[in-house]
């Protein structure tokens, strides 16, 4: 029991890192493995080096065993599972040798070298799997390297040269864990050694996906040179514009609103500006709140905002419908009949109220775009808050451009149509129809945010 009470102390004493640099770098009781795999057209060669530190050497006393190298290499080979296209291949011995370099405190270490070979026919493309199951429970460095001789390795997951000079000099990288590579799967085919395999396309292959990734990568660039900064801002403009082109942000609603009422170009601009302002302020607020308190769950917040947006649109739809139905009896002269003065927004009938426009704008910008949020949070985390804010602003301006453009185009289109006498009469019902459309869309948005 006393020994057990000494557990924490004694056990950890062994694990204590050496104060001086002369200790076996990986600890005195490790057993370290290195396998150098060479793939030939007719066979696979494996050179296995096993390095036993001072304590295992003392425990096993290899110097006292006469045929230690052959016996232990046999165990290494038994633990080596080599398959070609799923078919296990027998590994036969070529040579075995052992030497005892001196380690710390005058104690020897053991360095066992085994050459093994497995015949295989690699005349065509194949997959070679190598797995090391020799002494799996022992702590130690596990490394594998792979090269091809007359065979090309496609995108090999392990390097061609050893990081530890075949267990002679272990690298001391603070940002890398001790290697623990116990299995490797190599895709091979006949030919000269390929410089690099086919790169797998990462991420979404759409234009937007690529652009978004480029955007988020730029925001996280280590060297924020002016060129990179300008590029990032331009990209944010483009992204904001294309983001607004995607479904969402109330374009349908705005279009219907402007088409049904006597919307003018200026109204389109106002709506666009309101959306941008709401969106930018929304992203900034949420970004700052989230980075200050992690208690706010992003997902549920977006949901709440989605519902709020939907409710707002529904309310506007109700208001529009009511006013449209109330105005039905107004004579046909509403809105048109003045050839050139028409469409420039002066007090004909009922113009779109400022409140309504702003309401549309707010509804459109209420739900923040995730990519803008991500960029802002990332920039804050990197200590570049101002840059993040700038990018979000650029994003918002891009959105404004699109939405204003859409609004303008629709206003223009409607004006053209209204100028044509034939369609004049059809327009009486338009406000009611579009109001109803706005109402339906609003209900749909709310429902989707609630149950989606």
């Amino acid at each position: 029991m006393r020994a057990a009470a000494v557990l924490v102390l004694a056990g950890l004493a062994l694990l204590a890192a050496p104060a001086s640099a002369s200790a076996h770098p990986l600890g005195n009781f490790t057993i370290n493995h290195h396998h150098a795999i060479t793939v030939h057209p007719d066979r696979v060669d494996v050179v296995s080096v096993i390095d036993l530190a001072e304590i295992p050497t003392l425990q096993e006393q290899p110097a006292r065993t006469s045929d230690y190298a052959d016996r232990e290499c046999g165990a290494v080979r038994d633990g080596l599972q080599l398959t070609v296209d799923g078919v296990r291949k027998a590994v036969s011995p070529r040579s075995a040798s052992v030497e005892y370099p001196s380690g710390e405190a005058g104690l020897p270490t053991t360095r066992l070298t085994c050459l093994s070979t497995a015949p295989a026919d690699l005349g065509s493309a194949a997959t070679v799997d190598v797995r090391d199951t020799y002494r799996p429970g022992r702590v130690g460095w596990h490394e594998m390297t792979a090269t091809g001789d007359g065979i090309a390795l496609l995108d090999p997951p392990v390097p061609a040269t050893s990081a530890s000079d075949e267990l002679r000099a272990y690298p001391d990288d603070l940002l890398a864990d001790p290697l623990d590579v116990r299995a490797v799967s190599l895709r091979v085919e006949p030919g000269t050694t390929a410089a690099s395999g086919v790169g797998v396309a990462q991420g979404g292959t759409t234009l937007l996906g690529t652009a978004t990734r480029a955007f988020t990568d730029l925001a996280g660039e280590q060297d924020l040179t002016p060129l990179v900064g300008v590029l990032a801002v331009l990209l944010s403009l483009l992204l904001g514009a294309s983001h607004a082109a995607l479904p969402g942000h109330g374009k349908t609603v705005i279009a219907a609103y402007l088409a049904g009422r006597d919307g003018t170009a200026r109204d389109a601009v106002v709506v666009g500006a309101t959306v941008t302002l709401t969106h930018t302020v929304g992203v900034l607020l949420i970004g700052l709140v989230i980075s200050a308190s992690s208690a706010l769950a992003g997902e549920s917040l977006l949901r709440v905002l989605g519902v709020a947006s939907g409710v707002l649109v529904t309310a506007i739809g109700v208001f529009l419908l009511r006013s449209a139905l109330q105005r039905q009896p107004v004579p046909v002269g509403h809105g048109h009949g003045h050839g050139h003065g028409h469409g420039h927004g002066h007090g004909h009938g009922h113009r779109v109220g400022r409140g309504g426009l702003i309401g549309m704008g707010v509804a459109g910008g209420l739900v923040p775009s995730p990519s803008a949020l991500v960029v802002l949070l990332g920039a804050i985390a990197l200590g570049r808050t101002w840059f993040g804010v700038l990018l979000v602003l650029g994003y918002g301006i891009g959105m404004a451009t699109t939405l204003t453009l859409v609004g303008l185009l629709l206003v223009r289109l409607r004006d053209r149509l209204a100028a044509v006498e034939r369609f004049r009469d059809r327009f009486t019902a338009l406000p009611a129809i579009t109001a109803g459309l706005v109402l339906v869309v609003g209900l749909g948005l709310t429902a989707r945010a609630l149950f989606g």
């Binding site: 004694a10 770098p25 995108d155 185009l409």
Partner: protein
Amino acid sequence: MNRRKIIAALAIAAGAALLATTATALSRGDDPVPTAAGAAVARSDVQRAISAAQERLRRVPGDAATWASLGSAYVEQARITGDPTYYGKAQGALETSLRHKPDGNGPAHMGLGALANARHDFAAARDQAELARAALPDTAEVYGVLADALTQLGKSDEARAAVQRMLDLEPGVPAFTRAAYDFEQRGDVDAARQALTRALDASSSPSDTLFCRYRLGELAFDNGDLDEASSQYEQGLLVDPLDPALLQGRAKIAAARGDLGTAITGYAEIVARVPSPQYLHEYALLLRASGRTDDAARQFDLLAQQERLLAAAGSIDDLAASVVAADRGDSATSLAAAEREWNRRQHPLVADALAWALHLTGRDAEALPFAERAAATGWRNATFAYHRGMILRALGRTAEARSALDSAVRTNPHFSPVDGPAARAALDGLR
């Protein structure tokens, strides 16, 4: 008119471009990012934290806070995996953190304190923990490091205050397990068990569960309850059948139940995988108890070599050295090591080791105060009682010796495969 046409044309072109973007976006959809070749297998929380920190530091190498958290994670990883390379990495990472932020760097000092604890430099650990506390007075982890250092230095009242503060700040597995150790040292076994049970309930990761199961098993074993201990170890082994500490527990139970063969086989497997000094020592004692004195002597030699290696590396554990030397029969070395450790820290275990070393060199009158000092905290420890009993017997105080030896055997009849029978023999001799 021309200008308007140009503007119109531009607007239409921009609209067309956006339409094209939209069309592409909608038609192709977003492909999910393919995982890298050799995708990572399920990783523990600590491993994930390490990978994330490494990734970040490659991009932002001047981030002192992440260097500090990486260093602390390396210390934790060393404890979990038993791989000592991580201590060197931890040292490097924490020193880098201090280089980037020399003043008020609480996390770095906390990490250095944890590292010093792991290396048994408890005075340095306490100093680092105090520096960390100055910078982070309301962080539970800091008090954990401080409590460990103070406990090992023998300052139990200050340690208790630190553990209490830790419990107040963040009642979780680290706090409950430290509270349990404090209760155990004071002799309140029920409270210790309750604290460990609460820790087990709060465990969220396998390594936490394994640790709690092991501690519960140890608590039961040290108080003679073999069935409860066995149940705890076996439940832990369900989570990880290869955990060396729980396998050692299983082997210990086998030895206690008289099945020395199974116990020795179990220990041989453990020692082949994790030859830590504690396991080698217990293995050696088991071999001696079953009569294989040559094999036992070989294991003791191995232990001596290990001590030389550790000394060459600058890592000192005189308490373990004293205990092993005493079991080996080398009383002079045992006494020297125990006295050196006593000068460093006045912990009950060190007092007991010193008392036993003095007894082995025949200085029983000097040994008795130390044996009583070891028991002063109230710790129900069979080994302490056994040592005190043997010292009292050598001094001729038969009645007290009998009561001490009786208490040892009743607390835990299986406290040692070698000393247990010796205690019973001495008790019979005194009747």
